[in-house]
Amino acid sequence: MSRIQTLSAVFLRSVLAVMALGVTTVHAVGQTAARRFSIDPCSLPDLGFSGGRGWVQGSPGRYFVILTNLSAKPERELSVADGLSGHKPGETILLGIDIRSREGERPSYPVAVRVTVTGGREGSVRPAGASYRCREIAFFWNRRDGSRLEPGVEKIELTVDSPARLAGFLPDETVPRRTRPLWATTGQLRIDFGETDAARDEQHRDGEAEYAIRPEGVLAVDSASKGIPNPFLNIKAASEFFGPNLEPASFSPILEPFRAYVAVRNLKEASDAIPAVGLTRREKGDLLTSGESILLRRLGSSTIFIGSFIVLPEGYPDSATVPGRLLLSPVLSVPLGLGTIEVREAKPD
């Protein structure tokens, strides 16, 4: 290759490299009559995040996100394991985003947040009060104003727009032999957040959280009619495990907490609840979780008993404070029910 060609190639590459740094892809939805030269508000302000995934990379980060459903009465904090439920397709929900340390302090630096709706059909998100709808938004949760930090966008609106899908029925936790529907996950609301450095135009991902969106449908008058899913139909005496949507469970890898279920058939039990304990083991067989209480409740008037628990990746911050949690190795493929998770009937004292 000639010297001119080499230099030219280097020059062209450097020009293109400058131009090709970090492309953000964003989409506006529902904007049919946008003016020809109007900027897509969903695409502002072009914030990319770098850095590893929080705790998995071994850097738990000092801060975490707290998502509160401000449309619920009373308002309630959402858990990553259970996600967002109780809203019908088409409803727009006001959500509060807070970022706190374990000591309850706000970050002492400017924070950028990116919220993404994934899966589903037409679900959308926007800063509270905005008139547009986006699949993804990024914004400044707070901003530096001189030496002070001013609040930025702290509330967003999520429009649930996927048709509801019934996963099955579970025992009601409050009234014995009553059942309640479990609506399946149709999409996710993902939140990434981290310190933003305006002078370097960089965002470091300090943490993330993903919440399942479970739109609630309308039950047919006759719940026993055909088409109602019954994942527990063929349950035997040996316990079986089910995933967040009551699908036969096999989870890998485990990155976020989620709720799982265990079902067992017991023909002899007269009461409506069976105390049980859950145990998990690492791959080599040593105990990871020992004796976590799980209450198995009778499903309607059947001989099937169902309990639920939260599966947490080992090392997840604050995992000790999560009730009914079972820890599992986060990155390995862990087929449930093969000795890695066990649920045993609790022996009376």
Partner: protein
Amino acid sequence: MRAPILAFLALLTGSPVPGTTRVNEMSGCIASDHPICVALRADEPKEREAAVRQAVRETLLSSELESRDKAWGILTEIFWKTDLYPYLDLLDAFKPLAQKNQNVADLADLVEVNFAPRSRRIELLAPLILSGSGRLPRGTILLRTSAIEVAARQGLVEFLPAVTAYLAVLEPERIRARRLISVPALFELCGGAASRSDATVVALRRLLAIEERTLENRFPADEGFREAVFSLEYARCPLGVEKEPESCALLRQIVARQLEYRGTPPSPAAIPGESTDWVVRLQEILSRY
């Protein structure tokens, strides 16, 4: 209100023919006797275009690898400042002959986005600027920030409201980090330019229309304005040539007028390019070649 402003800007700018860059405006060809460079030196635009087409055909599309490589080397040196749009079909035709490291698609895309007719450039830049996503026709990725700068430098004021909205949500530090600080001033100065090639002339005409006192105040106070003026694509301004580029004549007028206004000659900078005196910086641009 915007339409009359755009019409006024269009009237101001005239309409140069695309593909009219002459060789004295391109650094990559100055000392070269490559057939493409020789052809680019022709005075008459139509004659020049025909000659360049023939030279590109005979070299870039030659059956000999060495000839193609040399032609490619010349084109990649000059494409940034030279209007190669009239030869885009020949660049595309070179693609099957190109070697792996000769990224024809990227070069052709950049030629098109910089030198295509105005309406085509707007069409290409619109998705990149308005939604921040998309690619140029042959797949080249152009960042939104780069697309904004290209639009501002070409005076595509149709994008001004969108770019203003974009900048409004960013902190000043972030605007600086994204190298967009000069963008509002570039739109102001180059607004309505018919082509990238004539944007500098348009900008210098506007600069000349600003009164001396205002310039004396604005240059030190307005970093974006200052950077916009210094970053314009200046032609070579050799002394003693019969017909120098219009941008050189305008630049000389601006400098001379300002020196007359001041009454005292400026102190030359110890290190070229480091002077804090904007008139000295413009003088340096004039005497750069």
